[in-house]
Symmetry: C2
């Protein structure tokens, strides 16, 4: 930054997050940060603050030499990428929460940031208020991180909580999540697992130096969980949660996926209810560390953005230590897991889908099997993602 | 450091923590750290590693120009202070877990570290494996931190877990804690609350820029908790835990103490069992964040030391932002709290001890009151710390 003593901020977007960022910066004089301009799409909307802040012309931020920090709080991933990459190219530091954009473009953005020396921070992109990226980057920067397991999508966790703890059906639970603002009017990014896998790609970069595209990970969402799956879980005193999991294998490679999983009452993740997020970091030395907090919402997200802004005062940058300075890990699919697969119809599973099957159930027009599967099978075809099929890890 | 590419370590102490540090450094080649010398007190003890590592002469570390990092893992706080301050004075970076020493000498050590530019890190001193200091320092470095509440002593939490969940008596619970290595053969530092208040002083520095001596905080331990206190708690579906608490008041001052407290099942701290620690950080924006992990033991402590060592590779220093760059908060005792006070005998409370009493109980030779007390009353005399009196916050 030209002058670290003044953070002159250009803000893109004035939705729930953008407005919360604005309010918080106004209320935090110790930051010595100042909003110079706010770029919005729709000039007709009534706004709660002085009109002179607003512009619809992005050049008033991108082309403004006074602006040394760009905060990007818009939904559109393509527009986000353009603004973030142009800002970095000009040496402006950038703070973004756009996980979809980051999961797609992280390698080029890291290269750009290294080239111009501008900092790119995005703590708010994963688990909002939980400082998980900074902790992975700074504190677990050794090779002793054996596992990373988390509930990193608040909408699906809210929906599953309603289903498991309140006995609601999926449709009603989804409706309530939308009503409370935990799910978008188009919730497909959340319920398909896409949002969680986007975030997990970002976390894998900081945990293990892995730069993966979301398609490289087996993942699915919660849409196909059947009421009888719930009964099976409850009979075993478990819940079903959408779990992102990474396991470091003895050879140093990492198996990673985002899949519905049975979570037993003893597990730390069983304590993550409603729209909250939780991450369990397992290291060779300390057993389990648990980080828990609000994973979504305007102020939790603004809080993470604020911490990034504050870090810019000290010229903080992610160092991507595990990517740059150690030997990065590779993704590995050659791993066997215990899984449960249910079907709401009589149908043969593809030959060899299970390495070994050790439990069958048929009844009430419903069928399930339990056995060992190879993670790589989940990438070979997407048979298990179709309607009426539910795959849940055990 | 002379050369950040090589961490040449002098280690003081080869007990549980020291040996774990040694093992972990040997097993982590990516650290590029090397143990040069280990200073021990008792040369006669059989050791598991090559004798050439050891010396009983501290000058072989303090006077060794090759050593640029000193790791101090001894019990004795006075000897610790001497080694830490001499090392810093010579420009050697220091990593210590000695909370007793730090709580006593932090101001002078900070000054010394600033003078010579040597880094002093001590993540392991509080909550072992939970990176609470680094998070307070780096991530919650704004003025929006409204509260810090934690279980920060593993021994007492282990004892209280046995009493509350297994129905053991205090003496038997303490015996088991000692047997399992969670309490020292002289457990008074733990059960008196002294260890917890030492740690809390360190945390207050990083949370609020407060440099307090332990005596400035109202604190006590768990020795006087009476079996009927347990019954009262269980009747209200609560547990009693030793809680360190800091609340930022509307005027910016901070009320802080370490006292037994009733913890309701809804509270995050109710989930902290056995020897674990947990810290809840409340910020104005994110509600509650919860950090949970092992608070004691050789490897959890070594893990925190390892993270500090790793941070030294990047010349990391605590910046004490809230102390140096913002207006530090002050401790304040002018705050009313809800408290329960029980006595195992008929005795009048000192006049005016409660501002207001709203519940009395007498029966089975046991008496308790509930009411509002001023925190400052707890500093005026120590009547409430005597045998047979139990003060528990509600």
């Amino acid at each position: 930054m030209a002058n670290a003593d003044t953070l002159s901020v250009g803000l893109f977007g004035f939705g729930v997050v953008g407005e919360a960022v604005f309010r918080v910066i106004q209320q935090t004089p110790s930051l010595a940060a100042r909003i110079v301009k706010i770029c919005i799409k729709n000039p007709g909307k009534p706004r709660s603050i002085d009109a002179s802040f607003f512009t619809t012309n992005r050049e008033e931020i991108l082309g403004n030499e006074e602006v040394n920090v760009v905060i990007e709080a818009i939904d559109d991933a393509d527009a986000s990428f353009e603004m973030v990459s142009r800002s970095l190219a000009q040496g402006k530091s950038v703070i973004t929460a756009n996980k979809k954009m980051l999961a797609r473009h992280l390698p080029e953005l890291i290269a750009l940031s290294r080239k111009t020396g501008a900092s790119l921070l995005y703590e708010a992109s994963c688990c909002a208020s939980i400082p998980v990226i900074r902790n992975l980057e700074e504190y677990y920067d050794n090779d002793l991180l054996v596992g990373l397991r988390g509930i990193i999508n608040g909408s699906t966790n809210y929906i599953l909580t309603q289903i498991f703890e309140r006995g609601l059906g999926y449709a009603e639970a989804l409706r309530q999540a939308q009503e409370k603002g935990f799910a978008e009017s188009n919730p497909s990014l959340d319920v398909s697992g896409q949002d969680a896998v986007n975030k997990f790609c970002i976390l894998l970069t900081h945990a293990y130096g892995i730069l993966a595209q979301p398609e490289e990970l087996p993942f699915t969402g919660i849409e196909n969980i059947h009421p009888i799956d719930r009964e099976v879980a409850l009979a075993e005193r478990s819940q079903i949660k959408l779990v992102a999991n990474a396991i470091k294998l003895p050879d140093g490679q990492v198996a990673a996926y985002v899949l519905p999983s049975f979570v037993k009452p003893m597990e730390l993740l069983s304590r993550v209810h409603e729209e909250y997020n939780g991450v369990v970091i397992t290291s060779a030395l300390t057993d389990e560390q648990f980080f828990y907090g609000k994973g979504a919402g305007g102020f939790p997200t603004a809080s993470a953005i604020l911490s990034d802004l504050s870090a810019l005062r000290y010229r903080y940058k992610y160092e991507y230590k595990k990517l740059m300075m150690q030997k990065p890990s590779n993704l590995c699919l050659d791993v066997e897991l215990d899984a449960y697969v249910s079907l709401n119809r009589e149908e043969k599973l593809p030959a060899g889908f299970f390495e070994e099957t050790y439990e069958y159930f048929t009844g009430r027009g419903f069928h399930y099997r339990k056995g060992r599967i190879l993670l790589s099978k989940l990438m070979e075809d997407h048979w298990w993602k179709q309607d009426g099929v539910s795959l849940i890890l055990m």
